[in-house]
Amino acid sequence: MPNLTAPLVLAGGLTDINWTLSFFTIVLFTLFVLVLSKFAWGPLLKAIDEREKSIRDALEGSRKANAEAQETLAQHKELIRQIGAEREGIIKKASKEAEEFKADLMAKARAEGDDIVRRAKEQIARETSVALAKLREEVVDLAVLGAAKIVTSSMTPEAQKKLVSEFVDTLPQVKN
């Protein structure tokens, strides 16, 4: 059975301040705050701080890694671009060289061909002049022979000589 000896005074009980209770409340609440700060809020706030720090660090780390990756990517792109340019240069150079080589070859071949033709022409000319000289000698001999036959049959030796020399004079002069 509760012993409700406390006087039940209307209104008065409601707004009266019980100084003993207030004093104990202050003492208890101060202790409460101290205990909580030491054993609850302290560790709790520390844990929260640590987690926030770890999250911040992780974010920072990922940002850094991302930046690094971006940089590497840019480097690689640049590298690829360089390589492409180099390759193009090599191909250009190679095709130019090939072109030059081809032109060179063609020039050489043409020169050789020309040389061969020139030499053949020279030889032909030489052969022709030899053949002409021979032919002229033959013609002279034949003419002499023919003339001798004619002369022996119809002419005096003086008339023959005169005729032959006149004939020979009319022949074209041959070089060599």
């Binding site: 301040i17 202050i26 706030l45 929260i48």
Partner: protein
């Protein structure tokens, strides 16, 4: 909760019968009958052990022969010099002191549980709920109102305010308990601690003389000082006074409302039995609504007290703001 409400309602309904013992005991409703009859048969002591916080008191009031509605109401919300926790034969010096200690223990246990729930730096369960509020108090109240870095110093105090007021209000909603913050002596103590923290903030930053000089804005013309100095000195005390009254009134009002609404049945039954029966769902419905409102109020008051404490501390720590 509904059972407790029914018990209270039935006990309140039965209370006038003690004054007229010749009348036969009439049950208010079938539900009330089933709960009230065994309690009646076992006598008031049995009722005490069932419902100390509300029913027992009402009964005791009735036993003493002056159980008027206002008295019951007052008994519910005021402190008792000698309190028997949950009807146990232990005398405790005060109902509110007892529940204050209980709530403090609950807060400490909850905080420890929150810490214990941390696994790999992340909280689980209760820890997450506590952390949300802790982070809010730290970032939105302490850091913002008092200042970055400096707020850290006051965060434990503000957290203690917040969780104590919140838990006291929520705990007081349970049956057979009381809200210690519904006592002016307790809110006075809390406001006093807030006041000390406010003055400490000013004095630790500027020294005693500087702190009192800072009360009045610099560069005021001399005639204005005549007005401003008394106003600011008054303001020093009205700030915690407002904290004290606000918390007290809010905590008290809810409990008064709850008790009054639950007494509707008992008050209307003597007028007419039918009115009494009709009142039961109305009374319980409204009481339930107020109960839900009280949960909201618990958070709001914890928030307001903590926030205003932080703002006042910030005002004295950085008077230029």
């Amino acid at each position: 909760m509904i059972l407790g409400a029914l018990l209270l309602a039935s006990a309140l309904a039965l209370a006038p019968q003690h004054e007229t013992p010749n009348e036969p005991a009439v049950a208010v409703s079938p539900a009330a009958e089933t709960t009230a009859t065994p309690a009646e048969s076992k006598g008031p002591a049995a009722t005490e052990s069932h419902a100390e916080g509300s029913t027992g008191e009402a009964h005791a009031g009735g036993d003493e022969g002056h159980g008027g509605p206002s008295e019951i109401l007052m008994h519910h919300v005021t402190d008792q010099a000698e309190y028997h926790p949950f009807g146990l034969p232990i005398v405790f010096p005060g109902k509110h002191l007892f529940f204050m200690l209980v709530v403090m223990a609950v807060v400490i246990v909850a905080a420890r549980l929150a810490i214990a729930s941390y696994k790999d730096g992340a909280p689980r369960g209760i820890g997450s709920a506590v952390e949300v509020m802790v982070v809010y108090v730290r970032d939105e109240m302490a850091e913002k109102s008092i200042g970055h870095g400096e707020g850290e110093k006051y965060t434990p105090l503000l957290l203690s305010f917040f969780f104590f007021i919140l838990f006291a209000a929520l705990f007081g909603l349970l049956p057979f308990t009381a809200t210690s913050t519904g006592n002016l002596s307790v809110t006075f103590a809390l406001a006093f601690i807030s006041f000390v923290a406010q003055q400490y903030a000013g004095i630790s930053n500027y020294g005693v003389v500087g702190h009192f000089k800072n009360l009045v804005p610099h560069g005021l013309p001399a005639p204005l000082l005549l007005v401003m100095i008394p106003i600011e000195i008054l303001g020093m005390f009205t700030k915690p006074f407002a904290l004290m009254i606000r918390l007290f009134a809010n905590m008290l009002a809810g409990h008064m409302m709850l008790t009054a609404l639950l007494m509707l049945v008992a008050l209307s039954y003597p007028v007419s039995a039918a009115l009494g029966i009709v009142m039961i769902p109305i009374s319980i419905g409204m009481a339930l609504f107020i109960m839900c409102l009280e949960i909201l109020v618990a958070f709001i008051q914890a928030y307001v007290f903590t926030l205003f404490s932080a703002i006042f501390i910030g005002m004295y720590a950085h008077p230029s703001h």
